[in-house]
Symmetry: C3
Subunit: 484 residues, 3 copies
């Protein structure tokens, strides 16, 4: 029998319309906490008829919306087909007395374990509920939504609600309810996913941990390095007290190093991935795990790089505000007068600074464009080609501008012996290594022979086989390696 | 009889599929203004068959999409089940002649009263339409969407369309149409909500009025205060003309005060709420209204605080650009030379400024992270724990950094008599009061005995009763007091 | 027979529920490339049963999700009703052997032509597929989604998927699948739109091209103009080497000109449109095409203006960081000492700079508010009145502030002969023309007689006819001319 996968039904088989559907759908809620109350408010607002079951319905009277019917648990579960269980896991078993009335109904588990509870139980709350009520269809949903969002729902835009259940029909019913309440349901498959769904609200910036630690590590390393060169060395060698440099100047030579290294680490994995594909002669082999993780953290690293670069810019602009800057200027003027010099001007120094500053501003401008296009609402409005143009082309331009900015800053300092304090090379020389490798590799990939081979591989060509029947390149791995 | 609440039907009862639904659904539009035309364009684009009823169909020919059928009103309302009424309220009564043809159909009221009209009529346009056509199912919808958005719809992402009606089935039909047209419907309940729905497009930054007025008031107060201290006092006491300070310097001592006070007012209500909960020993009592409103305006106050802080940063960075700054520097140099001083340096002043600037940059960096995460598209992608971490933890760090920034700015000035101009204490001392109270209170809440009690209360514990069967804390009130 | 346009069916005609729908819907995929694999992953994740047809199913084993069934093409197309064709266009014809099995089924064309392919074929891929399989219902969908987004779907928020087909029922089925997979379907009409849909992922910042070229052209013009005045003239006339001004100073006098001219070009078309409406005495005549295009590119021009203004701000703040600034300051101090001046101060210059800077900061602050509210997620949360207030009222305030900023910069320079280098007037005078016209015109439109006529016209009044039955103004053209 042919049937549509999913379809709206337009006509009733007997043409009748107004009977059944004009009844308002009825749902039950077990529980009387904050979440139960917000849920009731939202359900009433979305046109459902709500009955709340409580052990002590009288006490709850003022707290629930007046349109919701408050009654004892036994009465509440009678007529509705869908019942929300808004209770703590430890109280699930108190519902066992209602087993018969609940039989055949849909139970929605909205609970949110705390971190300890999540670690303590191997079984998700929803699976535990399902084991207590084997005759019910248990659906996990709404746990990622806070009671606050539930209440103020419509204002909040498209909040996603992951849903899972072993009963497809029950899942579909809840899915429609989610949609009717103004949220976007996301089907997460069977109830086995409930543990994952319950872990979602416990995540704390999952993808940010490694990049943030990396940035912190780089900051500490470069801060220590600059401290030794800029503060300790003058103190030890010449007895000069330069400790006042700690809060601003040392930070401001450290931040650009962190920003620059992070930016180069955004583009390195793409180069490595391309090299790997070239050597393997196929894109159908998985990258090693470390490379895969690295590729997936580029966005976070890029944003942290931008943050450090922006702080560097603000710190730099603060320099003339410092009292020490004023003293140095005045002292310079006094010195010139005392040595009878009527005019100072160093054309090379002037040019170095002008170019250096201009490149820095442009690099920051580029990075801020990259940062803006990684905002979810903007990224969503770009097609793949646009996104790739911004992230790959503009990003590379930003890397090149930063490299030129660094090189103009360095000028000839890398070759002056006096700059090697304690035999340590100037900081900027340390940071130049990776970016230069990347820029060279990118140049190499542009050579016709390499470029042609890479394009073929990305279209599905393999060294040891024919092209597969596959869709155009610009889809998966090209995306993954879009920074190349 | 068991039935699903809401369910898609997968198979027709007789297994037939292709007959009825393959017909394109037909809708009517009464009216020929801009909105009617945009509506027609969008409906045609979404696959509906559109018939437009006008008093003078010939004149309209070029203005509607060619796929729409243009005819007289009487003919237009014949076959479609859903008819959009895109006319001014004052012309509704001209449709009374069509009463018979319209009977039993769904009328969608898309009208948008002007502010005067809204104030003038106690009854919403939709309710008025329903009273004229008691045999029709009137649905209010689309009024929040501009004709422009209607035309360019798909580009615009998820626009929400509030819908209300007394007939659930009619509402559901329109709801599906809204979805089919690429918008997100939001069910607002019965037609009694129509007045509220009609007021939506008239709102002008509703939640911003009080915070913006507050910021303005603070600005005026601090500007006047600083004017008296920095400009008037030197003029009156010493006859010095410092009026040139008005456009930049006085503004730049005023802005950080406004930013700092606003930031502290973001965190004060959370402290008050926690104190109230501690005293009451329960979270199940409503906060007083003023506290509730205050809690709800924290986001706006925080963003205004960030805006002022950012302006303060830019103003500060502008200081060395001023001509007066240049003159002062040169004059200082001349003075040093004339008094035969060859080197000036004040280690304490140097340190004060370096620390002061560094803390300021860091506080601004923190505030900008807070501002970015309050963008709707980013806030939506965070779970509650992440949002609370940013707003509560990072926000408090920003408050502490700002306090340190202020204290370093002040240094010992609060204790120097010469700083009390006209007996007025330095401005920064005025702003320190509230933040210090907040920081102290936060420290107090961290004491084990207080912290344990607060956690218990937020999990639903009550002084005079047992723990209720309720969902974990991190839902409603914790959200409301997330800044504590 | 009356029937709802679109409606959910709540009850089966025989009240039975659990039979048919509990079967998991089955879909087929032909192809084994990246896109096919991502599609399989996503479909399995959304609860579909997936069968993949390949020429060499064994080789593909590790690459597809384990829940997907891998088999030969002939077997894969047997049972599912919906089959995704994830192959290159040139391989479509290899499926002709499956013609009989595919008959009556829904084929979803997900292919994405490259730019060359798109130009080469006049017929879209989907139409070509439809011509090969006339007995199938071909639906174009998913081509705008990258394989990457497909895999990571739920994280990405509301991605829109345009869909088109000649068979409404097939389209509706796919539409529901799109929704079930967490994306937002957009109905694009018949299969004739497939070419347009296929062109979507090829677009590269369509609306940005003209504004970006305009900004570039303005930049080149003003850069050359400033170069001649600030660098060439001193070199030719006085033999002074001012070439060091090229990287920062000349750029920094060019950027504000570009920003200011672009901003005025944002507001000019609104004034022209209003003038045109006034002269015509109706809003029911189309604007000339150039004006229409101009009106539609205002957002991009405004954002480019903001970008240039922000760069101008950063460049300006960098000025005191330059070595040349330091030298000039010191040289000024030396000169004062040598000429025995003990105090320099020019009250007029001081005031000019203070006001100039303050206005600049305020104008930038206004522009950044405008930029923030044009972020999609924020624009979506504003109603029309708020959006129009920000873009029209605040935008005009920004224009006025910029004009005052420019005028204070100019001060009396426009009237000093020495400022006319090579007879070229100072740059700022060139940029003032358009904004002053706009501000004058706006003032004119506020005169009661003009304003009343304009309001009448925008409410639908016509010089040569009566008011039409139309919805309030604030819908279409008011939006289009919202900057007036």
């Amino acid at each position: 029998m042919d049937k549509p996968l999913i379809s709206h039904h337009l006509v009733d088989s007997d043409g009748s319309l107004a009977e059944a559907p004009s009844e308002v759908p009825k749902v039950g809620i077990l529980g009387s906490g904050d979440f139960a109350r917000s849920l009731a408010t939202r359900l009433v607002g979305s046109g459902f008829s709500v009955v709340v079951g409580s052990r002590n319905p009288k006490r709850m009277a003022g707290l629930f919306p007046s349109a919701a019917q408050l009654t004892f648990q036994e009465e509440a579960v009678g007529s509705p087909e869908v019942i929300f269980v808004a209770m703590f896991r430890e109280h699930y078993s108190t519902l066992c007395g209602l087993s018969d009335q609940l039989s055949g109904k849909i139970l929605v588990d909205v609970s949110n374990p705390t971190e300890q509870e999540h670690l303590q139980h191997h079984e998700s709350n929803a699976e535990y509920l399902a084991s207590l009520f084997p005759t019910c269809a248990v659906v996990k949903a709404f746990n990622v939504i806070s009671a606050w969002t539930l209440q103020s729902g419509p204002r909040d835009g498209n909040r996603q609600v992951p849903i899972c259940s072993d009963q497809p029909e029950a899942k579909r019913t809840v899915l429609e309810m989610v949609r009717a309440m103004g949220f976007t349901p996301v089907d997460m498959g069977s109830l086995a996913s409930a543990r994952e769904v319950e872990a979602m609200p416990l995540r704390l910036f999952l993808g940010w941990k490694v990049p943030a630690l990396l940035a912190l590590g780089l900051f500490i390393f470069f801060y220590a390095y600059n401290f030794v060169r800029d503060v300790l060395e003058p103190y030890v060698q010449e007895g000069k007290n330069k400790f006042y440099k700690l809060p601003v100047l040392v930070v401001n030579t450290t931040l650009p190093c962190v920003a620059y290294v992070l930016l180069s680490l955004v583009y390195l994995p793409g180069v490595l991935a391309a090299a790997l594909q070239l050597r393997r002669g196929t894109k159908y082999q998985r990258f090693p795990d470390w490379l895969d993780h690295w590729l997936q953290h580029r966005k976070q690293m890029g944003l942290l790089s931008f943050f450090c670069a922006a702080l560097h810019a603000v710190y730099s602009l603060c320099l003339p505000l410092r009292r020490s800057h004023r003293y140095e200027l005045v002292n310079l003027a006094i010195k010139q007068v005392l040595t009878n010099k009527s005019h100072i001007w160093n054309e090379e120094e002037v040019w170095r600074m002008e170019i250096y500053l201009s490149l820095g501003v442009l690099a920051l401008g580029m990075l801020s464009l990259l940062a803006v296009t990684s905002l979810p609402s903007i990224a969503n409005s770009l097609n793949w080609r646009e996104f790739s143009f911004v992230q790959s082309t503009l990003g590379f331009v930003a890397l090149v501008l930063s490299t030129l900015h660094t090189l103009t800053y360095g000028w000839t300092r890398a070759f002056e012996e006096s700059r090697y304090k304690f035999f340590l090379p100037p900081t900027f020389t340390l940071t130049l290594l990776v970016p230069c490798v990347i820029i060279l590799a990118k140049g190499l990939f542009l050579l016709p022979c390499v470029s042609r081979r890479l394009t073929k591989i990305r279209r599905g060509w393999e060294k040891d086989g024919s092209v597969r029947f596959t869709l155009p390149v610009d889809h998966t791995l090209a995306q993954k390696t879009s920074h190349v």
